[in-house]
Subunit: 308 residues, 4 copies
């Protein structure tokens, strides 16, 4: 037969009864770290991809749909972001986007898994593009929540906090980074017009989790702004939530977004611009209704989990 | 073991190396018609779904994300749509949405597969909600292109033409309903401020096809407007294109959309409103660039196909 | 593309990490009974097949590899089988094979699921071939273990008992039909040179279960004889065990098997003959060693289960 | 959820509509050679396994069911095998079994893929157990058919020829090693009571191919003996065929098999003994009928292929 049936697959389960699979065209690198199983592979449809514990974390096909959506709205909304804290984001693509903003003086990046960072430095050059070597970056290996708690205690402040975390799973490493108690700590390290953003799972694949994350942030901050992009590598729409006592990215006009991008970055981005901004902050009605309907929030005692 | 592994699956192939699967919780009805294999089943994640030749056509989970996105932008954009032509749309959900508009006097629905219509009438009550019995509906069993050609010849005119077709596939029944020659026929039956819309496959899963459909329409109409929704049942973003010599849905202000909805329909819809409108017509930058980059169009001699 | 990718699948899980899938070419009939979910479908590779709760029970491709292997060795070994008890065997193929033996005067078939029997009568004609209408057959709807217990109490005797049961699963209907206590009941209804046989799962896919069934029978009967066939529909070698105080099928010479088949049945069978008999009762060394190594047996309190 | 859904899979397609999958627990080594894609991985159900181009070649679970079945029947049947030729068998397990026979003076092993041999030496120690270092082994990298043709020309002779080849596939490297013309060459290098054996695909999964291989050998040798083992790693029964002008393994009595094993090898094997011999050479009736029904044979011009 002339066809080519796939024989080596990554299966991503959305639930016990639903999932997507992609052919592993070739494995480029693999490592079992203390915390997780990490693979860089060429996947059918996505190209070079980072897979952790069976979940595609990002792929060359559309990592910019995710990383630019995560970073730029809060950075553009803040009047002058100088000190930025990033939790997670091992690929180095989140700090790469942060560093594009000329106002940035220091980025502290905290990741729990040293091996993943080493692995990314070596195998994910297309993602980090050397960002780990930027003088403005300070890398901390350790627990993100602990870092923030200590930072608050010693009076360290940030303008922007970016939470680029794995999904909350039962027994997983990030579960306590999606609770009211944690967001209270985040609020403590944000100064003045500080603003935070977190990835918040999918509003369509795990709608309850998305709403719970939004509600948990809303219990801590005066202004909570949910927004949505699409990431094919994640099999659907993908949600974020910002929290701040002063700022809302949704209030920015298209003209203001365009102007700030021009002034602060200069070169044009691959995904984010004023029209993309409008797209992300205009939620389709069913997502708005979801967010109005669900009232639950997550605490350390009652955390929220994605199903698989 | 306590878990429940799925054992009856629908697999939807995106390419030879990529796909999604869903558990068939139960089969509700099945039929092999002269043209296609039709199944109504309860699917994991999607609920009750219509599957034709292995492709989920729509599910109760989000058929409104598709049908409202297809119908309402052109209907709202037209100043007073009275006569509407629908090709395809066997579930009856497209005419259901058309009929909500009080100005509508006649809807002609043309579908090639009588068995699918009979099947839908019987098994898809949640979709059509009795629309096939509405006095304004005239159902024609036959080839859509032939119908339009004859309509043009005998001087029959429509305000809105809605193309709710299966994807173009090699040897498939709808391939000649995505070509320049066909759109020329469509233009002939549109009177005055007439406007057409077609589903146009996915801008992210089959980007070239999406761009080719847009370009083919742009060769015929003065104004071509691409827009995008998301349909989880289709595994990604989903695209549409409108064509008209006078009208562009993108030009409508939020206020005007809200006003017309209020005046023409009255009750609120499940998916479409002015913010959803903004969301659909604001394209993320990579899709805009895709549409600028690809120049190909489809003709009867050089049609376009989705890969599987 | 010219190829034909499968889109409707039955997946048979061997464990959480292993399984086989087959395309559902068409569903012929489906029913959810009080006890189980039953489907008759045309499957790729197997042809028309009966699937219960996600497990292929038998297919036209090779149901004779299973049913003839189950029935004929004990029937041929017994000097003159007149009264035969069959538990399970809803397809009607087990009684079909029993009825080929001219000495048979009565077959009592006990099955718990009336709906499965009705379903089989209607949709599995190729299997039962009218056997349910044979005057020698008495069909009892009820619990097999209860039936045997009552039969023993009222002094009812059989020459051959054939256990054509679903695999023992946690919470499943047949778990108490694979225990020492149950085999003691079976022994009570066997008269004189009586002999029983049970399907015993796969010696290679679930080796421990196979050995436990063999050991459980060995605690009750003087002579226990394991043997093995292959059933592609079950994805591997398939095991049986006979129990008797007097008879062992393995002791029969090839000539004696051939002679008895000639005298008692006349027409030739599709699978079973003297060479097939030799094949089934000659175990490959690893299976013999498995049976020597494992000492466990199953009781009502400590039953045995297949993993999924 | 407590369960563990598999996310990295090897899928082995039996046809376009049928296949088996196994979880890749971990990849131990991978290499793309000039001829094929080679992987050593821990697979669910099978343990450490060699996978070439998506086909499991052997696994620690049951490589002895294959390699002992391939090697020992012909070795035991030959009165005194001194010079043995092995084509293929890159794992080194075939020569490992040959070397157990004390009479062996020289084993020539010919394999086309130097990289596979190097890979096996390094990663498949459990298979070859150092056999590549045995002084009686001569390794030749090259085309097997060419080697035999040249050997015949220069008058080199062997007692036993063992064909441990990949299946014949369209465009694959082994297709011309299953034809009448090739077996004629094999016959030329066999002296006196020489005997050959080839793996012959599955009599149940690819029955026509199995029969064609048997018929092709039968056109060249006076005595052709088909036999069958089971290999779970290959998803079914697995067939072999011997060819010789003088010898038939089937004629050996159980006692003779036992005696020769004792005298020639001494220590007991894991799979093969006199009862296993009986099992392998007693074919179930449907396989015998298959071999009687199909009359085709393969030539260089009309070769035979497995479907995928």
């Amino acid at each position: 037969m002339a066809m080519k049936l796939p024989w080596k697959l990554v299966v991503e389960w959305i639930s016990e009864g639903e999932g997507c699979f992609r052919e592993i065209v070739s494995v480029l690198a693999e490592k079992r770290t203390r915390f997780q199983e990490v693979m860089v592979a060429e996947l059918s449809g996505l190209g070079k991809s980072l897979v952790i514990d069976g979940k595609v974390q990002s792929s060359l096909l559309d990592e910019h749909w995710y990383h630019e959506a995560l970073v730029h709205p809060v950075m553009i909304t803040h009047p002058r972001p100088r000190r930025v804290l990033v939790l997670g984001g091992g690929e180095g693509a989140t700090i790469r986007e942060v560093l594009r903003h000329r106002s940035v003086e220091e980025v502290v990046m905290v990741d729990i898994d040293r091996d993943v960072i080493e692995f990314a430095k070596k195998h994910l050059g297309e993602w980090h593009q050397g960002s780990f070597n930027d003088k403005r970056v300070r890398l901390v290996i350790g627990d993100g929540r602990e870092y923030i708690t200590n930072a608050a205690r010693r009076g360290e402040y940030f303008d922007v906090v970016i939470l680029d975390l794995v999904d909350p799973t039962e027994g997983g490493p990030a579960t306590k980074l999606y609770t009211v108690e944690f967001y209270e700590k985040v609020r403590e390290v944000l100064r003045g017009e500080g603003i935070m953003v977190t990835q918040a799972t999918s509003p369509t694949l795990t709608p309850r989790v998305y709403a719970v994350v939004k509600n948990s942030i809303a219990r801590v901050f005066r202004i909570t702004t949910p927004y949505v992009t699409y990431v094919r590598s994640y099999n659907g729409l993908w949600g974020f939530v910002t929290g701040s006592d002063k700022l809302s990215p949704k209030e920015l006009s298209r003209e203001e977004v365009a102007k700030r991008l021009r002034e602060r970055i200069g070169t044009s981005l691959r995904f984010y611009d004023e029209e993309t901004h409008t797209w992300m902050f205009s939620l389709p009605k069913p997502i708005r209704e979801l967010l109005e309907t669900i009232k639950d929030y997550a605490t350390d005692k009652n955390p929220v989990y994605v199903p698989v």
